[in-house]
Symmetry: C2
Subunit: 169 residues, 2 copies
DNA sequence: GCATTATAGTATGGCGCCATACAAAATACC
DNA sequence: GGTATTTTGTATGGCGCCATACTATAATGC
């Protein structure tokens, strides 16, 4: 059903010859990756139409809900990304006149980042649009299908090293 | 069960207030993304232990199964990546002495890339290891769970723009 | 046969991410 | 009060990816 990228198809063919026991799991794995890649890509395409990347959208959204503004290091924490990455994303948002950095007058190391009116307007518009669309991918699912899929995804997630680590740190 | 990254949690909270109908779908979406991210990350970690990235591993693997060597543009096609990207990946593989470029003597535009003995040995080792491990993520699943998950993933995939496009181009 | 077009590989610059290292400023410690 | 440590933001350089533009070479058309 899902057309795998050639690299995955090739890896599967190879595995089929050498490790047939693993093939069923590999197929599932690639299907999950294909779904995530499709979601990411759709996401990026939609944001690109507004001149935004995913990283910048996350900042826009985080800033929109924090009324007093946020510092770069708070943004890094909430976006799950390093402070260094934030610097670059903020540069982009400032270039696009969606946000501005203000220097903090009590602690002179700190900055406060706030959206411009333009940024606020865009955030309002996009957050709703985006949530709507993300939710729509699973709109054709029944309640029990959703519960089932969630259970299976979680079960697989906990099998990964990353998932197991996150489970009990 | 799955601990969402903060950015996703924040987006969910916001949506919960404004677009409650979309929340169930969003949750599922983020769960799928979390699983894929965990798989990717595990993958990257394992390859990094051998000084490889995912992109380089794909080339290693493609070269290992094509005995006569491949040209950069064939590699690009099979890896699902542009020729420009291949140039960089090959530079890395050559630096690590895993592959070499040979000039084609009939068509002087062309190159032929081949693995070194070191590259061949590493490929042999890693392909098996990797397939094994990827398959293991779903090893705790019964046959019917696998079929069910596959069906649900495919159903969601076809709802995405990317998936729908790939379905019938 | 020579001009046009297509193909192959690369260079360049952008994005988002990371790790590392740094300067400035604030805080902690004695 | 003055040194040591921590915190903050940024710079730098690497990775993998893309799009675009360029050079060399081949193939095609007339």
């Amino acid at each position: 059903m899902i057309n795998f990228e050639q690299k995955y198809a090739a890896l599967l063919a190879q595995a089929d010859a050498k490790t047939p026991a693993a093939v069923a799991g590999m197929r599932l794995c690639f299907e999950a990756l294909a779904l995530a890649a499709a979601i990411d890509r759709d996401c990026a395409d939609r944001l690109a139409a507004h001149g935004l990347s995913e990283g910048r959208f996350v900042l826009l959204f985080l800033l929109a809900e924090a009324k007093g503004g946020l510092s770069p290091h708070e943004l890094a924490e909430r976006a799950g990304v390093t402070r260094g990455t934030i610097t670059g994303l903020l540069d982009g948002l400032e270039r696009a006149a969606l946000a501005r950095r203000f220097s903090h007058d009590v602690d002179r190391r700190k900055l406060t980042v706030q959206l411009t009116p333009k940024g606020r307007a865009l955030a309002r518009k996009l957050v709703a649009e985006h949530s709507q669309w993300i939710g729509a991918v699973f709109s054709g699912f029944t309640q029990s299908e959703r519960a089932l899929l969630s259970r299976l995804l979680t079960k697989a997630y906990l099998q990964t090293d990353t998932g197991a680590r996150a489970g009990k740190p």
